[in-house]
């Protein structure tokens, strides 16, 4: 568990860094914008011009330089998480082991957090720039303008609206807590932990949810049931990771004792179903999926495996489904796919599910599929966990890719369907066959885009994949969802990607069970 002192240190450092930015902006306003005798900013062309010039300097102040360096350094403390996780296991006298995959997870979450803070700083720089520019035009008293900037950055007790400092503190402390609990869960899984105690000190402003649950013991399945519950401050996503919600400083510590008293949760009244692999003669009802749009997209789910329909039925639908290129818009929860391609529709719908399960701009595949993809990639001779790999590994990767190419390469002649050249040869494609495009793309992701870039086999290519673990994992998820849903080649997928398919099936089973 992260000690309270780490959280308070983060808050203090963020406040100091934002206050320093505020000072710099204050100096700029006072030295550059001329005022009249009453202290009002003169509405002169010169002042307006200088306000425009200041915009660049303010943006730089907030997105580069000392503020960014301090955020880099602060988020660098995410590297302490393995030590904190180790401490959590000391109580039960277990010693977790950490490897490259754990380092990678820390690196990914630290990068994501830094990106979120940078986006926040950019947004607030825009807000301050607007205030400065409006102040120069309207002739606002300089004192008032400085107060506005300070309110935007640090806040005043007498003014409503949360300042930037609060948002940054919330983001950083929420993310590090999520990383901590995720690391503890991973290590717990490796060590066979089945029960968890909800821990953390309850303070004056602790949520009622946290106060009610603190100190109690839960199984992983029971924690999963929190997804369906509602409380103030709840954050969407995996409840083991999001716990009480934004700014929650509670977490889970491993429990070895078998005979613990279970918490009296309403959900406990229902017996917890054990995951059972259903036989072919499945008596459960098969949901009838209707996406709306006058049934335009319903054809894409006809004939899918029943469990795929159950997954789609268990989750909300995307905000929007449109016909177009295969794209998933994270910001708008919009699925776009060519009307004629069920495979692409399922691929993009897979992105939506992946995104929905994690919430916000995150994707569950980033953490849930990473280890499995590494294991399968290494086994196939395609991945080596980052770096250049060395001559032998590069050679081996190319050999494997050549083998897959020889196995899947399909030559397709495409002819003009209309116009003056109707019937003439348009071009020849030679990627993977329709049934194996998803497979080919997984191989492309495992090889950092080499399968497409070097051998022109179906895939997103290196510009999309190289060094981008999020894209690699999200595409793996989308491809697996498509292959799994359409069912006919799933058996082959389980043989080729045993770890990935297992991890994916586990996620699907959880969705079916818990919604």
């Amino acid at each position: 568990m992260i000690p309270e002192s780490h959280y308070t240190s983060n808050e203090k450092r963020i406040l100091q860094a934002v206050a320093a930015v505020n000072n710099q902006i204050s100096v700029m306003v006072q030295s550059l914008l001329k005022v009249d005798g009453a202290g009002r900013i003169k509405s002169t062309a010169g002042n307006i011009q200088r306000a425009k010039q200041m915009q660049k300097a303010i943006m730089k102040e907030m997105t580069q330089g000392a503020f960014k360096d301090e955020m880099n350094s602060l988020i660098g403390t995410f590297g302490k998480i393995p030590d904190y996780a180790t401490e959590a296991f000391q109580e039960v006298r277990l010693l977790p082991e950490f490897g490259q995959a754990d380092d990678e997870m820390v690196r990914i979450m630290a990068n994501d957090t830094l990106n979120e803070v940078s986006a926040m700083a950019t947004q607030w720089a825009g807000n301050i720039n607007s205030a400065v520019y409006a102040g120069a035009i309207a002739g606002t008293p300089r004192k008032e303008l400085l107060k506005q900037a300070e309110q935007l950055l640090i806040g005043h007790s007498d003014v409503r609206g949360r300042p930037m400092v609060n948002y940054v503190q919330t983001i950083v402390n929420t993310r590090i807590a999520e990383l901590d609990t995720l690391m503890i869960l991973r290590k717990g899984d490796e060590l066979g932990i089945e029960r968890w105690r909800y821990t953390g000190s309850t303070i004056r402003d602790s949520r009622e949810w946290c106060v009610d649950h603190a100190g109690k013991i839960f199984t992983k399945e029971e924690i999963e049931e929190w997804r369906d519950k509602k409380w103030n401050g709840k954050k969407a996503g995996d409840p083991f990771v999001t716990r009480g919600g934004w700014n929650c400083r509670h977490g889970f510590s491993p429990v070895l004792v078998e005979a613990e008293v279970k918490p009296k949760e309403p959900a406990q009244k229902k017996p917890v179903k054990k995951p059972v692999k259903k036989p072919a003669a499945d008596s459960r009802p098969i949901p009838n999926i209707d996406f709306g749009y006058k049934g335009k997209y319903n054809k894409h789910v006809k004939g899918l495996r029943p469990d795929a329909l159950r997954v789609i039925d268990a989750l909300p639908q995307p905000n929007e489904i449109v016909s177009g290129k295969g794209v998933y818009y994270t910001n708008a929860r919009r699925v776009s796919a060519p009307l004629k391609s069920t495979r692409t529709f399922l691929h993009e719908y897979g992105h939506f599910i992946d995104n929905h399960l994690a919430g916000g701009w995150n994707f569950t595949s980033k953490t849930r599929l990473y280890d499995a993809a590494q294991a399968d990639g290494k086994k196939l001779g395609l991945s080596w966990g980052g770096g250049l790999g060395g001559h032998d590994k590069v050679k081996r990767r190319m050999e494997v890719l050549e083998e897959f190419k020889a196995k899947w390469k399909t030559r397709t002649e495409v002819f003009f369907a209309s116009g003056r050249r109707k019937g003439q040869l348009k071009h020849i494609t030679q990627g993977a066959p329709e049934t194996h495009r998803g497979f080919s793309d997984i191989i492309d992701s495992m090889s950092d885009g080499w399968f497409y870039d070097r051998l022109r086999m179906s895939g997103h290519g290196g510009r999309y994949y190289y060094g981008n673990v999020e894209n690699q994992m999200t595409e793996n998820f989308a491809n697996l969802f498509q292959i799994w849903s359409q069912e006919t080649h799933w058996e082959e997928a389980t043989q080729l990607f045993p770890n990935l398919t297992k991890a994916f099936e586990q996620i699907m089973n959880e969705v079916i069970k818990n919604g």
């Binding site: 986006a119 290129k325 295969g326 794209v327 998933y328 818009y329 994270t330 910001n331 060519p338 391609s341 495979r343 692409t344 691929h347 993009e348 992105h351 701009w361 495409v414 348009k426 071009h427 494609t429 030679q430 990627g431 495009r437 793309d441 497409y452 022109r456 179906s458 895939g459 997103h460 290519g461 510009r463 999309y464 994949y465 981008n468 999020e470 894209n471 999200t474 595409e475 989308a478």
Partner: protein, 64 residues
């Protein structure tokens, strides 16, 4: 496919910019490269995005 890439490189001195947008439609990439060579403008899938999509793409919020 390779021959289209080679021709593009020969004409423009740069490779086509592939961001994965047309990964599922190989024909669209080939057509795009052929059109780009005909029109004397290098092929870039980034140019196929709207202004809003370009921002989303740069922020990693578009998945193909």
């Amino acid at each position: 496919m390779d021959k289209y890439f080679e021709e593009h490189f020969k004409v423009f001195g740069v490779a086509p910019v592939i961001i994965g947008l047309n990964w599922d439609d190989e024909g669209a990439t080939i057509d795009g490269i052929v059109d780009a060579i005909d029109n004397g403008q290098p092929y870039s899938e980034i140019d196929q995005l709207t202004e809003e999509e370009k921002i989303l793409y740069s922020e990693g919020k578009l998945k193909f």
